[in-house]
Amino acid sequence: MSILDYTALELGRKIKDGEITAVEATKAALQQIKAVEDQVHGFVSYDEESALKRAEEVQKGIEEGIYAGPLAGVPMAVKDNICTKGYTTTCSSKILENFVPTYSAQAVENLIKEGVIFLGKTNMDEFAMGSTTETSAFGETKNPWDLEKVPGGSSGGSAAAVASNECFMALGSDTGGSIRQPASYCGVTGMKPTYGTVSRYGLIAYGSSLDQIGPIAKNVSDCAALLEVIASHDPKDSTSIERDDYDFTSALVDDVKGMKIGIPKDYFGEGLDPEVKDAVLAAAKVLEEKGAVVEEFDLGLVDYAIPAYYVIAAAEASSNLSRFDGVKYGYRAKDYEGLHNMYKKTRSEGFGAEVKRRIMLGSFVLSSGYYDAYYLKALRTKALIKKEFDKAFETYDMILGPVAPTTAPKLGDSLSDPIKMYLGDIYTISVNLAGLPGISLPCGRDKDGMPIGLQLIGDCFQEKKIIQAAYTFEQTRDYEAPEIAKGGAEA
């Protein structure tokens, strides 16, 4: 067995017990990165030297008892839209190619205190806009299970890096499914916490009212442990919420007896791949056999989530991304005439097609004469969608469904038709609109061997319920890794 096959918590335990050092673990991860990065391309950048230097410091700190947490010494990756002080943070965009933040995201600060090792920054759809990681300005990431296929997105780099054992865990961000869907495509576990649970300070905003940072790891336990570290009430983020407790790992209990699980009929209709459907329903069966009460119900308004989401996210994005103008940081066009031409050239050359598409749409829906018809209409729809979920959670402890209608598509298949790509987010997007927590974990594979994800959606602040149910389901199956993940150093 290789070091790389350990889960983050297993590795953390072994480091604490002195069986493995943080330096050995970091070297193993770096070796794997070097071995497979050419094929997977999960990273925008990684820094061997600084990772090893930090590993040495952390190892010393662990020995001195400074770092006593369960993830101390564990090498990890961070999505490249999360600011890391002194280390480039690009959002996979040409416009931020050379941007080196002078501050770190609060989630990263929390991880520094925990004593994790940072390997590098993972690839993503440019500014998190996309579902395939193909809109990255620095080349696409490939699915470790099939290099001809997409890893999903926008946190495709993080999911692929975890799946291919390039790191033991990673941070992603989820605005409309950007953690859960790539986790599903890559056969790993990803979680989007309740809005406000993880500080957004230092997360480069796409849709501010929807964005959340969350964990991607090999299993539910690692996700719970990682969430426990990154979640905190942050006075620097006005939308950060002070929660009653943060001990998500206490929910790692193999028991779903009496839990009421609702299956929205609307999630299993047209467009859902039969293999995905079968795998997800089989998972529901497993939970039922373990004592949960599983019922079908009508969620309602499912078809309205995507249009509402694209109006809200595009509107917020058009404003959030206006700061990229060639004045304070990032790319500035070389030849221009005057101020406004400088703005236009910088932004036109610096942003990719999908980002421009959404900025244009967002600017339009907010413009004079359209605000009410589009933006307010979308916010009203959001209110109705939230109400539907509130109603569902009066009856059910959680909602179970697929993560995405299909398994990972082939590279290049999605971008030709944006709306078709947007439709792939149908099961994940409403969770962001309603601010809910959701977890994606593997529940099978299709005939081509591609992973299928199961999604559990909880009520606000009910992460523990979905963690417990996900953990219980996970106990019934083994972790499966793609071929490419095998290799690296022997333990």
Partner: protein, 97 residues
């Protein structure tokens, strides 16, 4: 109820968004925006009269800072990524016409 986006609108949105599109990009953008808006028009099927627009999901309110200076000289960090700087300031093309 197909939406029609004309040249003028695309030009106008370009001014708002500070994006300069080539002729070809403009045609594509028109098509993209039309199809997106057609899709978004699905929302009109919903009766939302009397529904309060929801900006924030949670009723969080009154998040404040106290009026206490916590930051010192930030100029070095502020200018660290400047594409062009001079005299501790960012340089931009002449703003006064």
């Amino acid at each position: 109820m197909a939406n029609h986006i004309d040249d003028e609108t695309i030009e106008y949105v370009g001014i708002l968004a500070k994006l300069e599109l080539s002729g070809e990009e403009k045609e594509q953008a028109k098509k993209d925006m039309e199809s997106m808006l057609d899709y978004v028009d699905k929302l009109n099927e919903l009766d939302t009269s009397g529904v309060e627009p929801m900006s924030h999901v949670f009723p969080v309110r009154n998040v404040f800072r106290e009026d206490v200076v916590t930051n010192g000289d930030g100029s070095k960090d502020t200018l660290a990524n400047a594409p062009e700087a001079q005299d501790n300031s960012f340089v931009v093309p002449r703003t006064i016409i």
